[in-house]
């Protein structure tokens, strides 16, 4: 990257270290931190949407929706989240390909599942085998994102449902007394009031979401865990920068990165809780 790094064999000490941590591969390592941050920022609103839908479904007057919603929210309590992280991307991938197969190649009559194979016609492959590298990466990332949205949607749904039922009944009844329609009560009172009750739960979920991001590695995405393993492994003399097994160091760095991230988030949430509870009829609101 820098001109004086051209011949690493001659370098020593700090300059060697500096050149070592600015190699192209290390740049990919640093970029993968951004991938993690990107996943968090995209998964959070997605999970919010899933969770909101789940919570609304639980309160629906239609029985089918209620059952679906409750199953969705309850599932996550009994089954480890890893199962979903492994299951959803493959399942979605196969579902998409199956649908495309039915639409794009109606002339093929053979079954899609043949023994241990899943065969769709070439045109139905996702992404197309002719697609460029970034399309594959993007597709993989999107599937991972959906898996995160689904799992954390269930957690969020639980929190939001709890928050909705925590809003004082008297406030909703006041709305009724004023002649608000159920929809107006929901939008103008419930939705406005529930956030302060949801905040502790949501801040917890944010932490959990941060701590779940290394699972991207399981989904075959070149994230920070992948690069830490890759860069930390023993590099023999044939490499430009030979070094012994440094994986413990690399994972140590990741550990510190996550500790910092959760610590900073905690600070922000403490501030936010303080702000939101101002003027609320709660203990926290009164003491300010």
């Amino acid at each position: 990257m820098f001109s004086y790094c051209a011949d690493p064999k001659t370098l020593e000490g700090l300059i060697w270290l500096f050149c070592y941590i600015t190699t192209v591969k290390h740049m990919s390592f640093y970029v993968s931190f951004l991938v993690v941050m990107g996943l968090i920022t995209l998964a959070a609103p997605l999970a919010m949407a899933f969770g909101f839908a789940g919570a609304i479904a639980c309160r629906s007057s239609i029985r089918l929706f209620r059952y679906l919603g409750k199953t969705y929210l309850a599932m996550i309590r009994g089954i480890p989240d890893i199962v979903f992280f492994l299951f959803i991307p493959i399942a979605l991938d196969q579902a998409f390909e199956y649908l495309r197969h039915k639409v794009l190649c109606p002339e093929v009559t053979e079954a899609v599942r043949q023994g241990n194979d899943f065969v769709v016609c070439t045109a139905a492959k996702l992404p197309l085998s002719s697609a460029s590298e970034w399309v594959h990466d993007f597709y993989g990332f999107s599937l991972a994102l959906l898996a995160f949205g689904f799992v954390f949607g269930a957690f969020t749904g639980n929190v939001l449902l709890g928050a909705m039922s925590a809003v004082p009944k008297a406030q909703l009844e006041t709305g009724e007394a004023f002649g608000f329609s159920p929809r107006q009560i929901f939008r103008r009172i419930l939705l406005k009031q529930m956030w302060v009750y949801a905040l502790p739960g949501l801040s917890n979920l944010w932490m959990i979401l941060i701590k779940a991001t290394p699972l991207l590695f399981l989904l075959g995405i070149e994230d920070i865990v992948y690069w830490a393993k890759e860069l930390g492994g023993i590099k023999t003399g044939v490499y430009e920068y030979p070094h012994p097994d440094w994986r413990a160091w690399y994972f140590g760095v990741l550990l510190i990165f996550y500790l910092l991230l959760t610590y900073l988030s905690q600070l922000v949430f403490d501030k936010l809780t303080f702000r939101l509870s101002l003027g609320q009829a709660t203990m926290a609101g009164k003491s300010n």
Binding site: R77, A212, T213, D245, L259
Partner: protein, 280 residues
């Protein structure tokens, strides 16, 4: 091949008994059920030992966090922060790499009357290395729960204990600890459930599944790879874990009833699963 035959072949496969080769072609539903169930042995092993050991350490950590003694308090706070603030996944990786670079030779421990050779290579095996990580992890999470409960012990209870002249260990054992446990129990039940869930991470991290002896999800992903059909093995894992969760709730509510026995019925706390802050 009948299902009974499969059961005797693969029932204990995960701990090394029975058929050596895993099924490769023409995988039946029965084989998936049996082998994944066999893998559950590991999940149960990890969770139960980690929870049993962690129960004691977490009480110590809770007392430490609450203590006035600077060193004890700071140690407990740091321990809890590190294990709760970082992903379990990274903890596994980090611990594994640390264990790998430990000196390969055994370390001799001289206890005066007998010398024990600590085999450091065992640390890189899942049964010990991963267990240690899970043990520390659950101790930190449960330690925080117990700390919260410790702070919530009614001050009148402690004052009455003082009035009766109870001090030190006796006061802790008879008054503070039972109340703390009673207050913490619903949250601790959740912690136990999610501890079981956390054991599924073990074989996806550095810890190798030696001779393909893995846990439930290890076999499930094996089947998903082999049959290219995720719709059978993963729901089976889900089924086993839901069963396990129900059994666990049953056991914990028996203890809960014991802890709440002396209270009037409307003051008793019911067990309820919530998902706050317990996923690693």
């Amino acid at each position: 091949m009948s299902c009974l035959q499969t059961l005797s072949d693969y029932g204990l496969r995960s701990i090394g008994y029975g058929e050596r080769l895993l099924p490769k072609a023409d995988i039946t539903l029965c084989e998936q059920f049996v082998l994944i169930g066999s893998g559950m042995i590991w999940n149960i092993y990890f969770a139960i030992l980690a929870l049993l050991l962690g129960f004691f350490l977490s009480t110590i950590l809770a007392l430490g966090k609450n203590s006035n003694f600077w060193l004890f308090s700071n140690f407990s706070r740091t321990f809890i922060f590190i294990f709760r603030g970082s992903p379990l996944f990274i903890q596994f990786f980090f611990a594994y790499e640390l264990f790998v670079i430990l000196p390969k030779l055994g370390v001799d421990l001289d206890l005066g009357f007998v010398t024990i050779t600590l085999e450091t290579r065992w640390f890189t095996k899942a049964w010990l290395g991963a267990l240690i990580v899970l043990f520390f992890n659950t101790s930190a999470y449960a330690g925080e729960i117990f700390y919260g409960a410790l702070r919530a012990v009614p001050s009148q209870d402690i004052e009455s204990a003082d009035a009766f002249g109870l001090t030190g260990i006796k006061k802790f054992k008879r008054i503070i600890w039972p109340t703390m446990l009673r207050l913490a129990w619903p949250s601790y039940t959740n912690e136990a459930i999610f501890m079981f869930h956390a054991t599924t991470l073990v074989f996806f991290t550095g810890f190798p599944a030696w001779q393909q002896k893995g846990d439930a999800i290890y076999y499930a992903s094996y089947f998903a790879d082999k049959t290219f059909n995720p719709f059978v093995p993963y729901p089976i894992v889900g089924f086993y874990f839901i069963l396990l969760t129900l059994v666990l709730i049953g056991l914990f509510s028996i203890i809960n009833r014991q802890l709440n026995k002396h209270l009037p019925s409307q003051e008793r706390k019911k067990l309820k699963i919530n998902t706050h802050s317990l996923i690693r």
